[in-house]
Structures are given as C-alpha cells and as structure tokens.
Amino acid sequence: MKNLKWLASLKRIGRALLVIVLATFLVRMLMSLAPGSIAEGMLGENATPEAIAKFNEKWGLDAPPWQQYLTWLRGAVVGDLGESPLTGQSVMEAILERLPVTLELAFLGLGIALAVAIPFALICATWPGRGIDRALSSLSSVFLAVPAFIAGPVLIYVLAVQLRLFPVLGWNPLSEGLAANLQTAFIPALSIAFVEIAAFHRLLRADLISTLSEDYIAAARAKGMGGVYVMLRHALRPSSFSLVTVLGITLGALAGGTVVVETLFGLPGLGQLIVQSIMTRDVTMVMGAVTFAAVMYVGINTMVDVSYSFLDPRVRRRAAA
C-alpha cells in the first residue's frame, strides 16, 4: 500500500513535469513564429543586420529555436531560468518580484468574491425560490456580466476620481502596511471579484440546495438542530466541492496574471510582465512566466485535490489507501 502511494505521487510529479515541459516547449515554438524579435525592438532604427547578429549572439538567440529550448531546459532543471535581454534581470528574480502583486490581487479578488458569495448562497439556499433568493440571484447574474475591463474604468471613475476614496494610481506593497496596501489593491481586486462573485454564488447555491435535500440534512434537522447550525455545520462543507474546484481553476487562471486589471491600473504584477514580454518577444521571460504559471497550475490542482480530502474524508481514505 505504501509503495502504491509512493508510486502514485511519483507518477503525479512525472506528469506535472511533462505538462510543464510541453507547455514551455509549445510557447517557445509559438514565439519563434512571431514576427520581429527582441533585438529588432531594442535596436529599433539602429537595427542593422550586423547589430542584430551581435545582439543575438550575446544573448544566445542565434541558435535554432529547438536548440535554444534545450539550452534553456538544461538551465531550468537546475533552477536557472536565464536572463532577460530586455532588462538584464534574472528571469527568476523578475518573476518573484512581480508575483506578490499578482497573487495578492488574485487572493484578494477571490477573497472579496467569497466573502460576498458565501453569505449570498447561504441565504438563497435557505429560502430557495423566495423573493430574497430571486433578488440575490438576479443581482449575481448582473455581476456575471461585468468583466474586469468594464468594471475597472467605471470603478476608477466612481470610487477614485469622483469619490476619491481610493488612489487612482500606484501600488503600495504589503510591506508598507496593510491599510496602505489595501488602499491600492482594493479597486483592482474588486474589479476582478465581480464576475467571480456570480460564479461562486451560483455554484454554491445550487450545491447547497441539492445538499439540503439529502437525508442527512433531514436527519440533522430531525435531531432538533437549529437552521443556521445545520447550514454551517452540516450543509456547507459537503456542498463546497464544485466551489473548491472552480476556485482552483480561477486561481490558476488569475495567478498567471491578472492581465487586464494590471494593465488598466498599471500594477507591477506578473500579468504586465507577461504582456510586456510577449510584445517585446522576450522569449526567455515568457518561458519563465509560463513555467511559473504551469507550476502554479499543477500546484493549485494538487492543493484542490488535497482540499477535497479535507472536505470529504471519503476521499482521504481513498487517497491514503
């Protein structure tokens, strides 16, 4: 049994690595199809063929793409993701520098979404079909249709420019204190949250309603337990599977860059880095970012699996066996 578990984790890791390798290879090849190059961009009107050749040679960009990929891969295996010709910065450092912003936005956005969606869902599922359910459900349908690129400009205009509740610009990292940080992070996170509020609310509501028709809920009620108690202690946990799954997927997608919001608000996150790197054909940086995104995806997936077993002990046993 123990062997089996070991083998299973090994398989899992192998597959994760395969996903990462394939994803980075794919993006390397894709990027090599793109017109232009970082050398042309940086040299601009000074881009004589000789200058370009010299530049490429300096940065090891003169080999065929697959060879460049292998070189990169050899480095990546030992944790060296290379340096960006654009900035001269180590890719790893560049990503690690940007990651906190993106992660904070993602977590804060999802946090806001959950903070709204869970109570909404609990209320709706308690009185399904009633007025309050319809009202909240309609509201969340409305949120569903407000993507960040609509929410962002409007929120800036209303909350920052008109009401001056938040700054229009800039980013205070967490190191400057939570209040200062939230000041700058709130509107961007809120723009992210809208759509997710709706998604989370609907999922959880549906699952709660179906959980509430389970026998064990009736059994808990028949014990004389209070409504709120039954909701929170008995219904919420078994209803959160889909929510957790979607949370994972969303987090994975956001961790790769809250691109629109970062661009819109000019935040120094991974998304902006990725956009910039793609636009400038900074292939090394793009591959680094994709590696990170893939690792994140794999990691989040694993976390979701682990949380399944936290949510449902049946899964725990299956996994442990």
Binding site: L254, V259, I278, A293
Partner: protein, 304 residues
C-alpha cells in the same frame, strides 16, 4: 361498525373526511413557480435582436462603420439613424460600430463555441470511453492547455498571427477546448457506467456504435446547454483582448475595442464607454441566463 377504537380514529370526526381539510390543504400548497420568468424572455428577446441585427447589418439603413459622419464625440441625437447613439472619437457612427461590433463578437463566440463543442465533445467522448492510453493523452493535452493562463495563450496567438477574426477564433477555441473535453469526458464516463451501455454491448453492439449511438445522444444535450455560457465567456475574452489592443484590426469595430477607445473620455463622454459596455453586459447576461435555463431544463428532463 360504530365504536371505532380511539387509537384508530382519535377524533372520530368522520364528516371531515373529504370536505374542508382536503380543500384547505390544496389551497395552501404553494403555487407552482413560473417556468420562464420575464427575465428569461427578455434575455432571449435581446439575443434574438442582437443576432438579427448582426446578421442583417448590411441591409440596415446604417452609415458605414469606417467613415466619419460628423464631428467627433457627438452625444446621441435623433437626427438620423447614424446619430442615434452619437459619434465616436473620430466621428464615426456609434450605432453602426455597435452593430458591426456585434457581428465580430457573436461570430467569434459562436464559431469558437461550436468548434469547442464539436471537437472537445468528441475528444472527451473518446477519452471517456476509450483505453487508458488515449484517455491519458487527451488528458495531458487538456492539462497543457490549461497550464497556460488563458490570456497568455491569447496574447501569444494574437501577436504571432495576424490580428483578425480567425486568429481570435483559434485562440478562443484553444481556450474553450479543455473545458469541453472535461465536461464531455465526465458525462461520458458517468453515462458509460450506466447499465444500458452494458446492455447494448450484450446485444452485440460495437464500440463505435456504443459511443456514437448510445452515449453521445445523452452527452450532447448537456454540452449544448453549456454552449451559451461558454459563448458568453468567449465574448468577454474577445472583449478583453480588444481592450488590450490585441483584437481585430481597425477599422473593424468590436465592443471591447470600443470600450478601450472610449475609456479615456469616460469623464467627458461617458456614453462612448457605456454603450458598448451595456451591449456586452446585456449579451453576456442573456447568454448566461438562457444557458442556465437550458441547463436546468435539461437536468430536469434527465433526472425526473
């Protein structure tokens, strides 16, 4: 037959049998919920309208979306059809751009939605029923696609290829594919565990027959019900791309592009943002609500 034991008829109130209480109970049963609320109808109507406008756009008495019809940033006015929603930064008719923009949004969402539906559906079907090897290969493919953050994929594609509808369709298809593969695979697995599949095999059915005649008809409605929802996600994705300046090349309008172009004038000419934003909002909302309705309906017919 007179002395009914108290334990059998505790109140012995025989006259109550079929009179008042039954009627009272009947009256107290909550009324059935209307199957289609006004909202659903309104949403369906909006979709019909916007699709109809997009399809018939060339036949409508609209000015060209590419040629200025007046001074820039005119507010909406009743002057002539072209001016109903005012003019944009360059003086082009906003209503024309909105309707032709619908063409792009809807085309992109529909084509890539259908592509995902068909290709993802079939891949998922095969993966869900086929041998472990094939399943693993399809699973790996969708994992690799998912490992890309969606916008990276789109960004990379739009900068690699020409910024036209085909590129965006390709990108969105790649994005939507894993979702459909997973959905289809999950449904296939759950349906193929049903005994009727075994029964068909026992009748001598071959694997293709089981796959396409037995399982597929059951999987398709579930996938189809997701189509509007996925399409709405694609409209948003296309909007985001256009917003980031990676959408379709000018002068072809798109809703996301219109918002991006207008966002700097939000304070002075908010209509430039709000009109296309409202179009996206209504369409996405409608697709979601109609999709939900379909899904609920489908679930009901299956589970009842």
């Amino acid at each position: 037959m007179t002395d009914v034991p108290t334990l059998i008829r505790p109140d012995a109130a025989q006259e109550l049998i079929d009179g008042a209480p039954a009627a009272e109970a009947l009256a107290r049963v909550p009324v059935a919920r209307k199957k289609h609320s006004i909202l659903v109808w309104a949403c369906a109507a909006w979709l019909v309208l916007i699709f109809a406008l997009a399809i018939t756009a060339p036949l409508l008495p609209l000015p060209s979306y590419a040629i200025p019809i007046g001074p820039p940033r005119l507010p909406p006015s009743g002057e002539s059809v072209g001016f109903w929603l005012g003019t944009d930064n360059i003086g082009r008719s906003v209503i024309s751009r909105l309707i032709y923009g619908a063409q792009v949004s809807l085309l992109v969402a529909t084509v890539s939605g259908l592509f995902c539906f068909f290709v993802g559906g079939i891949l998922g079907l095969v993966a869900g029923y086929a041998s472990k090897g094939l399943d693993a290969a399809v699973g790996l493919f969708s994992d690799v696609m998912l490992a890309f953050p969606p916008l990276i994929l789109l960004l990379a594609l739009s900068s690699v290829l020409a910024p036209n509808a085909a590129t965006i369709i390709l990108g969105l298809s790649m994005l939507g594919l894993p979702t459909f593969i997973r959905l289809s695979r999950a449904h296939t697995m759950s349906w193929s565990a049903r005994e009727f599949v075994r029964a068909a095999r026992n009748m001598g059915a071959t694997t293709p027959r089981i796959l396409f005649r037995e399982i597929m008809p059951n999987v398709v409605p579930a996938l189809a019900a997701y189509l509007p929802i996925v399409m709405s996600a694609m409209i948003v994705a296309e909007g985001s791309l256009s917003f980031l300046g990676l959408g379709i090349a000018p002068p072809t309008p798109s809703w996301g592009g219109m918002i991006a172009a207008g966002k700097d004038s939000l304070a002075s000419d908010p209509q430039l943002v709000f009109i296309p934003a409202a179009a996206i909002f209504l369409t996405v909302l409608s697709l979601n609500i109609v999709g939900d309705q379909l899904r609920v309906k489908f679930d009901r017919t299956v589970h009842e």
